[in-house]
Amino acid sequence: MKLTIPEIEIMSSGHVACQGCGATLAFRYALKALGRETIVVIPACCWSIIDGPFPYSAAGVPLFHTAFETAGSTASGVRAALDIKGIDNVSVLAWAGDGGTMDIGIQALSGAVERGEDIIYVCYDNEAYMNTGIQRSSSTPYGAWTTTTPAKNFKTGPKKNMVEIMVAHKIPYTATANIAFPEDFIAKLKKAKSIKGPKFIQIISPCPAGWKFSSQLTIKLAKLSFEACVFPLYEVENSRYTVKKPNKKTDVREYLNLQGRFKHLNSDAMGLIQKNIDEEWGLLLKKERTSDEKCAETDAKA
C-alpha cells in the first residue's frame, strides 16, 4: 500500500513536549499537509511550551505566540495584512488547545468564522487544561478526573460539542481528525487549504500526563476513541455530513480502562457513558442521512 503522508519534515526535533504527546504529532502532520507556505498563530496552550524556549523554535514556519483568547482574532489580523499586501499563497493556521478554543477563545473564534475569515483553525483536543496541570475544560468528557474535578466529584456534564457549534455558523468546512489516522488528517487539511473561507478541524490528541496512561499507548488510545465512537471521525462540508465508520464498534470500557482518569468509575457510570455514546453515534448517523437527503434535494433544485 502506498502511503500518502508527505516526506517533508518542517517541524524539527528539539521541541519540549512530554513523551507520547499527541499534540506534537498533530502539529508535525499539519505542517506536512500545509507546507512551508504557512503562518501559524498559537495562543496560550501546550504548544506555547512545546515550540521551545527563546531563541529556539521547533516550528520551522513563521509563528506568532498570542494571548489565550485571541487565536481567531490574531489570525484574522495576519490574514488581513497578507491580503492587503497581495500575498495569496500563504495559509494562516490558528493552532489552539480545547480551552483556548471552546472556553476562553470561543468568542474570538465565533467572530472570525462569522466574518468569513480565510483561516484554518485547528483545535488539538486533549480534553482539559493540560499546560497548567490538568484542570477541567468544557471539552472534558463525562466521568473524567481532573485536578479540579477530583475522583469523588468527577465531571458530570457532557463534553461541549464544538463541531456542532461551528457547523451552526454555516462555515464551508468543519471536520474532526485523529492522530491515529494521519492520512485522513492530512487529506482534510489539504482540502481545508483548497477552500476559501473559515475552516475548523478538531483533532483528538491523547495526553499521557492528563489522561494518565503510559506514553506508548497514545496511538492505541486515539484509535480506540474512533473504534468506540467516543470521538467520531467526520466532515461537514457546506452542511453535508460524511461519517467514517469503524469496521466494528468496540465497547467503550476498553477505551476507558486504559486511562487512569476514569479508574474511579463504577460499572453504572461506565454503562451510562456507553449509553450516551450510542445515542450520540445514532444521532450523528441520522444527521449524515438527513443532510445527504437535504443536500440531494438542493442539488436537484439547482
Binding site: 498570542t66 494571548a67 466574518r115
Partner: protein
C-alpha cells in the same frame, strides 16, 4: 485643504493620510464616528485598507497585533470600557514591539454609566508601554495621528492619541488637511525588519526564561527613552511641511510666570483663556500643557516649573487612594530639585463636568495663599 470637521473625523482623516493598511475596530460611544468615517473611506476606495469589523475591542487589538506583526500599518480607535477590555492586549502589543496607533476618546469608566469626558481610562493604561499623546484641538489630533505612526515605527512601540469625549469628539473646528503627497514623503510605507514572512521564518513571542526576559524589558524602557528625542525631531520635520510644530510639552506665557497651571487635553484651551484674562489684570500666570505623557518629559517639566513660585496641576482623572495622576507625575519630576516650588493638585471635571474659565481663575488665584503641604482639592464638588 481646510475643512470644518469634528475631532473624531480628524482622527479618521489622520489615519487616511497615514495610509493605514489594516483597521480593526469595534463601536463604542463616543468613538463610533471615527470608524464610521473610515468604513466609508475604505468602501469608497479612497484608502487601500482591510477593515476587520471585530466582535470586541479585545479582538480589535489582537487583530491589529496580528496585522502589524505581519508587516502592515495597523490602526484602531476606542474609548473607556473598550480600552479597559483591551488592557491585556495593550501589554501584548508592547511586548511584541508592534507600532500600532490607536485613538482613544477619553471617557469615564462605569458604573455609573456616563459617556462624558474623563482621562482616567487612558491614564489607567500608563504602565502598558504605550506612548501617550494628549491633544488640545482637532488640528493637533489629525497632526498627531500622522506623526504617531512615524514615531512609533521608529521606536517599535505602540502609541495612543487621546482626545476628550464630546469636547473634541463631537465638536467641529477648522482643520487643515495636509496634501497626501507631502505626508507620503514624511511617512514612507511601513516595512519592518522582522515580520511574519514565509521566506524568513521566525518565532515571535515564545517562552522566554529569566535569562532573557529581563533584558527584553530593558529594551522597551530604552526605546521609550529614545522616543523623547524622536518625538521632538519628528515634530520639527512635520513643522517643515505644515508649519505646525508640536513637541513634548506646550508652554503658554510661562517665561515670567509666578503661578504655573498644568493641564492636558481639551481643558488646556479653557486654561489659556483664563491665563489671558489674568494677564490682562497683570497677574503673572502661565500654562504648561503636557502633550506627551509617555514617555514623560521630566526634564522639560522640571525646567519650567522650578522657576515659578507655585504650580497647580488640574487633573481630569483620579487614582483612587492616591491623587490626580498628572499631579503624581509632575511632583515626581521635581523631586530631584533641591529648591522646588510648592505643587498643588486639583481634581476637576470628572464625568464631563464642565471646567469653566472662572474656576480655573479661582484655582490660580488660590495658589499663592495655599499651605505648602496642601495635598489636593476637589474643585466645585457638591460635598
Amino acid at each position: 485643504m481646510k475643512k470644518v470637521i469634528t475631532g473624531n473625523h480628524a482622527v479618521s482623516f489622520g489615519a487616511k493620510l497615514a495610509r493605514v493598511e489594516v483597521i480593526a475596530a469595534y463601536p463604542i460611544t463616543p468613538q463610533t464616528e471615527v470608524v464610521e468615517k473610515l468604513s466609508e473611506i475604505v468602501s469608497d476606495g479612497e484608502l487601500a485598507a482591510k477593515f476587520i469589523k471585530v466582535e470586541s475591542e479585545h479582538s480589535a487589538m489582537a487583530a491589529c497585533i496580528g496585522a502589524s506583526v505581519t508587516g502592515a500599518r495597523a490602526f484602531t480607535a476606542t474609548s473607556s470600557q473598550g480600552l479597559a477590555l483591551m488592557h491585556e492586549m495593550l501589554h501584548w502589543a508592547t511586548g511584541a514591539r508592534v507600532p500600532i496607533v490607536m485613538a482613544n476618546i477619553n471617557r469615564t469608566l462605569g458604573p455609573p454609566w456616563n459617556i462624558w469626558s474623563e482621562q482616567t481610562d487612558s491614564l489607567s493604561q500608563r504602565d502598558t508601554g504605550w506612548l501617550q499623546f494628549y491633544c488640545e484641538n482637532n488640528q493637533e489630533i489629525l497632526d498627531t495621528v500622522i506623526q504617531a505612526f512615524k514615531i512609533c515605527e521608529k521606536v517599535s512601540l505602540p502609541g495612543m492619541i487621546c482626545l476628550d469625549a464630546f469636547y473634541h469628539s463631537h465638536t467641529s473646528e477648522v482643520v487643515d488637511l495636509p496634501e497626501q503627497k507631502s505626508i507620503d514623503k514624511f511617512l514612507p510605507k511601513y516595512d519592518p525588519k522582522y515580520k511574519l514572512d514565509i521566506n524568513e521564518p521566525h518565532t515571535f513571542g515564545g517562552l522566554t526564561s529569566p535569562e532573557w526576559y529581563y533584558e527584553l524589558r530593558y529594551k522597551i524602557q530604552s526605546s521609550m527613552e529614545d522616543a523623547l528625542g524622536v518625538i521632538s525631531e519628528t515634530g520639527k520635520e512635520y513643522a517643515a511641511i505644515t508649519g505646525r510644530r508640536y513637541g513634548l510639552i506646550d508652554e503658554y506665557k510661562t517665561e515670567d510666570a509666578d503661578e504655573i497651571l498644568i493641564t492636558a487635553g481639551a481643558m488646556s484651551q479653557t486654561a489659556k483663556e483664563a491665563v489671558d484674562l489674568m494677564r490682562e489684570k497683570n497677574k503673572k500666570v502661565g500654562l504648561l500643557r503636557i502633550r506627551t505623557f509617555r514617555p514623560f518629559p521630566k526634564n522639560e517639566v522640571r525646567k519650567i516649573i522650578k522657576r515659578a513660585k507655585s504650580a497647580g496641576v488640574i487633573d481630569r482623572d483620579i487614582s483612587f487612594g492616591s491623587e490626580g495622576i498628572f499631579f503624581q507625575e509632575v511632583k515626581s519630576a521635581l523631586y530631584r530639585e533641591s529648591a522646588r516650588p510648592p505643587i498643588y493638585g486639583f481634581i476637576a471635571g470628572l464625568g464631563g463636568r464642565d471646567v469653566t474659565i472662572d474656576e480655573i481663575i479661582k484655582i490660580a488665584e488660590s495658589m499663592p495663599k495655599m499651605a505648602r503641604n496642601n495635598e489636593f482639592t476637589w474643585v466645585g464638588a457638591k460635598i
